[in-house]
Subunit: 402 residues, 2 copies
């Protein structure tokens, strides 16, 4: 406990109220885990009726860029945590100074907000990363390409990118125009990175508490489609145990060095020559950890809450040999894909062991609107079940192909 | 779907809104399961801030005895379900006539509301029960005792009893005075039952949907203390497979014959001579099914929602050999036992695999305020872990004995 125990109106001790900034599906799934823990939540949502606002009674609608709004929502809360990484750093410092523990704190969060800061810090920590450099113009990109692995080169805005936005793969200096134009308008920098020759993408997820306890989840394989995570297999099939340990070790080292509290997700490339390189960091429950809600003893959302409240962490171990999570993305086929609820009769009748999570979001093409999880002893079976269900929700089955 | 698909403000199809009457912990745990299903809830709570009202934004505070209140809360809802069995039968009929599907319906629910009606129906269905008879006065009790197994005899009010209330064990006609006085004042009858010589108590839980699908959970052993369920072991250790099948068969037969929708819990005695006799029926998620939230593929609350919405049911199978649920009852020891949250550091640090469910209720001696679940391969280990955690929350450890 970071503050004197709260006292309820009846005079009995009450659990601490946890503030959450941001009303997306991550906050919604935190709320689901807060129910059994008996932890009351106070939510700042960006609009009426957004995903988490549907399930948190104590919701304020407001703008997280506004410090007064943040102060109001966190008043009387010992701890505040986040659905996303976009709260301005200076506001986090202001809240901390006012006695509200930001978890993760601004000093940690900047590494998930700014890829330039992140790369510099990981370099300092001797954590393996793709070769990279901050570049100011096309000529710098060419020089970087020459000094690294040549073209193509990956360009990323240092701030503001996610789910494939703010990322360009360029094959010549001429192709850099868009990236620099976007960066200039947004007032951010461009980070150039070598395009890694990778076998697949991995994710190492840990929960870490302020008192320093860490729980490391099994390393998973994540499949990205157009820059969006679409499928996760836990654990990563056929992963060399030494490499798995190295990936977990990187996540634990980074979490400790950056004083991360809550969930840290380290997205990695497994290179064709058998190394792991850090791709991205996220400091919140992460899409590559959704499998754990149904597949692990303690889901990532429960462990995130326990971590930010500085309670002892729950076991991150898997409950069965294989768990597969497939995202439900908004589909292209009209009626069925807009009415996710209408997908239930088929998927539930076909597979009584399937777990479905719908986020209460309006369906738009390509938008993450839910996920399904299947688990069991046979990976092929589990993959088929999860993929079928997600495809059905998306509206890609029983339709003429385009 | 029982009604035309609802349409959201944005014009896209929206999932049906489910109304729940009663704001206790059962409604709270339904709400927890409604989050991943993406099913919006509308709650009628008996007071501000009760257990379920803490986690359901769309909550009305009102009296479920008032038909206008019930109409208001269920307006636009295709289906209404219940946290308890106390809504007056005539109101359920009125709601049904207005096009709101009551699940379970009044015709089924009366068997959980009135023990006299229940016993008569089970007799008609040739379901094994303790010998029983409606009695009007002490002389009837004596006559019943003579015709059955002698004294002691169990007396129960036909309506309104629960958790040991409204039940008397009498050894002579003179001891019947209290029971008849209570019944007279409440305007209910007294049911006399033989006091069964039982080895232990069992519970057979099924989910049943309006279209007739049934999912039968493993038969569990339940331990009652002072008439309150305190501990459940799933599955019932050492239970004869034929007897387990008979118990499941009884639950499935009763659910079908009474047209139960949602969860039906059949509490049974396993007699010392190896029979099962029905003790009580409950038509809602039940304390003896709480183990399934963490221990089964599909928890009873999720299956209750799926059943009342007429969606295909989820698998009720256990995920591991043993699951033990122990209730957290309000303790007698002051500070620690009043502040359940303060119990977390010890129980979570001791047992990273423990699952805890706190209901957000004020702690009063003997009141159910939460439960813990442990699961694993070794029953003795699982029992010890769950019992230890519940005792800690109750404040019975680390204190001088009384």
């Amino acid at each position: 406990m970071t503050s004197p125990a709260a006292v309820s109106r009846a005079g009995a001790p009450a659990p601490p109220v946890l503030a959450i900034i941001g009303g997306g599906q991550l906050a919604r799934m935190m709320a689901q885990s807060a129910v059994p823990l008996g932890v009351p939540l106070r939510l700042l949502a960006e609009a009426e009726g957004v995903s988490a606002a549907q399930v948190v009674p104590d919701t304020t609608v407001g703008d997280y860029h506004d410090l007064d709004t943040l102060r109001e929502v966190t008043e009387g809360c010992a701890v505040v945590t986040f659905d996303h990484e976009h709260v301005p750093t200076e506001h986090l410092h202001a809240l901390s100074e006012a006695g509200v523990a930001c978890r993760p704190g601004p000093g940690a969060l900047v590494h998930a907000q700014d890829k330039g800061v992140m790369r510099a810090r990981l370099h300092h920590l001797e954590v393996p990363c793709p070769r990279n450099e901050i570049v100011a113009e096309a000529a710098d990109v060419e020089a970087f390409a020459l000094s690294a692995a040549g073209f193509p080169v990956v360009l990323k805005t240092t701030r503001g990118g996610y789910d494939g936005k703010g990322v360009w793969v360029v094959s010549s200096p001429e192709e850099c125009v868009d990236a620099f134009e976007v960066a200039r308008r947004a007032g951010v920098e461009i980070l150039a990175e070598e395009k890694v020759d990778f076998r697949r993408e991995l994710s190492a997820l840990v929960a870490r508490s302020p008192s320093g306890q860490v729980a490391a989840y099994p390393v998973v394989e994540s499949v990205q489609t157009d820059g969006i995570c679409t499928e996760v297999v836990a654990p990563a099939p056929g992963l060399d145990p030494d490499l798995a340990l190295e990936a977990q070790g990187i996540a634990m080292k980074v979490a400790a060095a950056l004083d991360v509290t809550g969930i840290l997700a380290v997205e990695l490339f497994e290179t064709t020559d058998g190394r792991v390189l850090v791709n991205e960091l996220a400091m919140r429950p992460h899409n590559t950890g959704h499998w754990s809600m149904d597949g692990a003893v303690t889901g990532q959302f429960e462990n995130h809450l326990r971590a930010v409240l500085d309670l002892p962490l729950g076991s991150p171990e898997a409950r069965q040999p294989w768990t597969v999570m497939v995202n439900i993305l908004g589909g292209r086929h009209g009626a069925l894909s807009e009415d996710l609820y209408a997908g239930y009769p088929h998927v539930f009748a076909r597979d009584p062991r399937l777990k479905v999570h719908l986020y209460g979001k309006a369906v738009k093409p390509g938008r993450k609107v839910g996920h399904v999880t299947a688990y069991g002893d046979d990976l092929d079976d589990v993959l088929e079940r999860a993929r079928h269900a997600a495809a059905w929700f998306r509206g890609d089955l029983g339709m003429e192909s385009e």
